[in-house]
Every structure is written in C-alpha cells, then in structure tokens.
C-alpha cells in the first residue's frame, strides 16, 4: 500500500511539479489537530515533569532528585511495586495461558470458548475501585470465603497471616484483571498455531510432548513474554484498585505518587517529579520490550 502510493506520486511528479509542491503543505494540515493535541496534552506535560525531575527548588539543574529516589522509603516502594507487578504478571500470564489452551485446544464445547472470551473482555475492564470492593467482600475479614473457610473447615486465613490489604491480597486482586487480559491477548496467538504443524510433527513421529516442546512453546514464546511485560506495565501503573483496597497505607509507587500530588508529603515537589520519571522509565522500558517481542511473534501469525 505504502509502496503503491509512493510510486504513484513519483509517476505523477514529472507531469505536474508545481502542483505537487503546492499540495504538500495542505496534506500536512489534515493531521495538525491531532499532533497539536498530542503535543499540548500528552507530550509537553510529561516532558515538563521529566525536566522538573532534573531541577531543584531554585530551578538549577541537578541530579539530586534522582539520587534521592534511593532513600529507603522510596526504594522500598519501587521494590514492592516491581514485585507485585512482576508476580501478578507472571501468575496471570501462566494461568491465563492455561485457561486459553484448555478452552481452545482442550476439546471443550465451542460455546465455552466464546463465553470465556466475552467474560474475559468484561473482567479485564473490571478494574479499579469496584474490584477492590469485590475482593473485600470475598477475602476481607468478613468476606464470604474467609467466613466459609473458618466455619466449614476451621481454617482462619487471617490467623495464618493472610491479609487482603497486603502484598498477596493485592496480587490476588490484580489477577482478576491480569488473567482475562492474558486470555484476550494470547487467544489469537494460539489460534495461529496451524493444525498442519501438529500433523506434520505427528507424521514425523513426534510425541505430543515433543510437539509442545519443539513447536508450540517456541512459537508462543515471544507472544507469551510480550504479554507478561504488558501485564507488568498494566499492574505497575494501577492506582485505583490499590488505593481503594489498602488506602494510603501500602507502600507502592503509584500510592506514594498519589499522596505526593495530593499534599507534597515528600516536602520536595521536584522529588515528586523524579518519582513520576521513575514510573515512566519502568513502564517505558517494559513497552519497548513488548513491541520488540510482538514484532518477533508476528512472523508466525500471518
């Protein structure tokens, strides 16, 4: 498509050189509103924060704010955030993959497949404050599951150290949107596994295990890894679920940043900008990896 247009323009050029020169600026005009919007409401405000991270209160350039991110409380916040995002991303990806494979390749009735995909679409968008409410009603101190486990099986999960307002509580809650997101994203990749590959492997005498180890896993690997990274970024930037679940008490980066924007709890606005910069760097790196892996996995899905 792009090539066809280029050759068309090239062919038209010798005939009407003035006309094409006259029309070029008009072509650009059509996308000006979009680029202006992106510049003013996406790029400049973010760039302002990034620039602010490298200045002190007097406006001089400095790296102090970046170094200050290593103070124990902030370093711990980053560490907890990264761990929660990583654990929920990996568990979400593994469980999501297992469910997707079971539904698509496990010989389950086909209506289950579309039901699962529909539900996944809903659940992957059911994040934020209401999700936190659901998990408090389920696994909070008075939650249904907590009470049933206590009354029917005599297992008091709170006495065993579980708390919905903790690392594992938050991870378990995040999985509610991480697993469905994995299912939604990985399904096309599993569909892309051609039947012929399985037949070819069988013809060559491969066992089911060999087929999985030498065909399926290498083909799915980039999509899988890419989605893990996407899920990671997804959890890393999430504020609402964590805030509604734990309030300002849990020490993770988005909550710290939320408190900082609300009331400058770090007593240094520029350190707040550095905190935001750290978030952009981490999710940015994650997305660069994602795009790179996606390009690699697309080769097989044509």
């Amino acid at each position: 498509m792009a090539n066809a247009t280029l050759t068309e323009t090239a062919a038209a050029r010798p005939g009407a050189p003035e006309r094409s020169r006259m029309r070029l600026p008009l072509n650009w005009l059509g996308v000006v509103p979009f680029f202006l919007f992106a510049l003013v409401f996406l790029i400049l405000p973010t760039f302002g924060l990034v620039a602010g991270a490298f200045r002190n209160a007097a406006g001089e350039y400095t790296l102090d704010n970046i170094f200050a991110l290593s103070q124990p409380k902030l370093a711990a916040a980053y560490w907890v955030s990264i761990r929660i995002s990583l654990v929920s991303a990996m568990l979400g990806a593994l469980v999501g993959l297992a469910i997707a494979v079971a539904v698509i390749r496990g010989g389950l009735p086909s209506w289950l497949r579309s039901a699962t995909l529909t539900f996944s679409g809903v659940a992957s968008n059911f994040a934020g404050v209401p999700l936190a409410f659901s998990f408090i009603a389920t696994l909070g101190r008075l939650g249904l599951v907590t009470i049933l486990l206590r009354d029917l099986f005599g297992i008091n999960i709170y006495a065993l150290g579980f708390n919905i307002f903790s690392f594992w509580g938050l991870t378990l809650t995040y999985l509610y949107f991480q697993i469905p997101l994995m299912i939604v994203i990985i399904t096309p990749a599993i569909d892309g596994l051609k039947k012929e590959w399985g037949e070819a492997a069988a013809t060559l005498g491969a066992t089911q295990a060999q087929y999985w180890r030498m065909v399926v896993i290498p083909v799915l690997w980039p999509s899988f890894l890419g989605t893990v990274i996407l899920l990671f970024a997804n959890a890393f930037g999430a504020v609402a679920t964590a805030y509604a679940l734990t309030g300002p008490s849990l020490n993770i980066v988005p909550i710290q940043l939320f408190a900082q924007i609300r009331g400058d709890v770090l007593y240094n606005p520029n350190l707040g900008y550095a905190l935001a910069l750290g978030m952009i760097v981490i999710t940015g790196l994650a997305n660069v990896f994602y795009l790179w892996l996606q390009r690699r996995s697309e080769r097989w899905l044509k």
Binding site: P45, A123, F126, P130, F133, S134, P180, I261
Partner: protein
C-alpha cells in the same frame, strides 16, 4: 486425548471458581444489610442517594464529551493518514500508544503542573476549565482503544474510491468525513465509544486528583465509609461494564468482515 480433556476441564473449573466466587461473594454481601435476612436494602440505599445520582450523571456527561472529542480527533486523523500520509502511520500509532506507556497518574500530574492558574493555558483556574481538562485527560486515556477501533474499521472500506466518488459529486472535506467516512466506520466508532464509556465511567485517579465530583471518587468515598453499599455498587459497576462489552460484541456482528480492497 481423553486425559487431555480431563485436564482441560479441571483448568477451566479452577478458572471459573476464581472468577465466579468474588462475584457471588460480593452479591451475597450486598444482600446482608438487614440483620438476619437477605434484602435489597443496600441497593435501595445506593439508588436513593442523591450523591449517587449527581456523580453518576456527571460521569456520564464527561464520558459523552470524551467520546465526542475522541471521535473528532481520531476519525479525521486516521482517515487522512490512510488516504494521504501513510508514511506518518508509525508516528501516529506510536503517539496513540503513549498513554499505555505513561500511567494515568503521571499524565494528570503533568496537567496539574502545566495548566495551573498562572500558566498560559489556565485550565485549572475555573471549575469548567477543570471539567474540560478531565475530558481531555480521558480522551488521551481512551486514545489507544479509539484509534485501534477506527483504524480497523477503515481497513474494511475502500477509503480512496469512496473519497474520489464523493469528490466527483462535489463534496468538500467536511462532507466526506461526516457523511461518507463516519457512517461507513460507525460500527467501529461505536465499539470504541462503548469501550471509552466503560473505562471512563468509574475512573478514579484523574477525577480524584483534579477534584471533580465524578463517580469514581464517589465510589471510593462510599467504600471508606459504608459497609454494605460498596458491594451493591461493585455489582452495579460490573453490570455496567458487562453491558458495554455486550454492546461491543453485538456491534461486531454487524461489522463488515473483509476489505473490498485489502490495504
């Protein structure tokens, strides 16, 4: 093969349990407001709360404006990129993906710093201006989804031929976009619109940090102060999300499947 199917069912059952139990528990909890018996008191309490009406209405209006802004921004751009500037496509795609890279909390932090009362664009000086900024913020959040939906829709129609036919009949650019292109990608646009609605309606971070009386902050406030109402609200929110996704699913059945001329 039989063992395979057994494990598939086991996996599926575990998944079902994880996803259904919280919904059942939330529903059960929401019915427990009256001591000793199940009742819909929590729902009555929520639906009778004037704050619920006010914040929900506010969020619906913000969502509608967000969708309008998103359509105005994305449809002409995606159309123009397809028709005239295919070389710019990677740049535009990259920009539309930026809101997935920059977390919402960072975007709104940037707004608060950039558009304060003393800046050149003092959005935050007035309540109306802040409302507008919230709409703009939501439009950026929805940008990746809206752009993808519209671009997919454009792929299924022959943009060039439609444009040339309209031009021969004397149509200007506004007419072409509003009366030729938009109706042809309407189903894709509506899919994007309902997804935007689902994202925006209960959004907490931006609304809360911009101090707007939206549904998300209301939910959070109820969660911090009441016992049974939050569960009722969670069920209502889930129903809203479900409704939006169902509409998208139904719409996709009407969408044209293949391109007249694959681009």
């Amino acid at each position: 093969m039989k063992g395979n199917r057994f494990w598939a069912w086991v996996t599926f059952a575990v998944g079902i349990a994880y996803f259904i139990v919280p919904l059942v528990a939330t529903f059960e909890f929401s019915l427990r407001m009256r001591r000793g018996e199940y009742s819909f008191d929590a729902y009555r309490s929520v639906l009778g709360d004037p704050n619920f009406h006010a914040t929900f209405l506010y969020s619906v209006v913000v969502a509608i404006f967000t969708i309008l802004l998103g359509v105005l921004l994305v449809v002409p751009t995606a159309y123009w990129i397809r028709l005239k500037l295919p070389r710019l496509r990677p740049v535009v795609e990259f920009i539309t993906l930026l809101p997935l890279v920059i977390p919402a909390i960072v975007i709104v932090f940037g707004y608060i710093r950039t558009f304060g009362s003393n800046s050149t664009l003092p959005f935050l000086a007035t309540a109306r201006g802040t409302d507008a900024l919230l709409v703009i913020g939501y439009a950026t959040l929805a940008l990746p989804y809206m752009y993808r939906a519209v671009d997919t829709g454009l792929r299924t129609i022959d943009v060039r031929t439609l444009t040339e036919a309209a031009q021969i009949l004397g149509a200007g650019w506004t007419t072409i976009i509003a009366r030729i292109i938009l109706p042809n990608v309407l189903i894709a646009v509506l899919s994007g619109a309902f997804l935007t609605f689902a994202i925006v309606i209960g959004e907490f971070t931006m609304a809360s940090l911009l101090n707007r009386p939206a549904f998300g902050p209301y939910l959070q406030n109820i969660g911090a102060n009441r016992a049974y109402e939050p569960s009722a609200l969670a069920i209502i929110s889930f129903a809203i999300t479900w409704a939006c996704m169902s509409v998208i699913q139904i719409l996709s059945r009407f969408a044209p499947k293949s391109a007249n001329r694959p681009n």
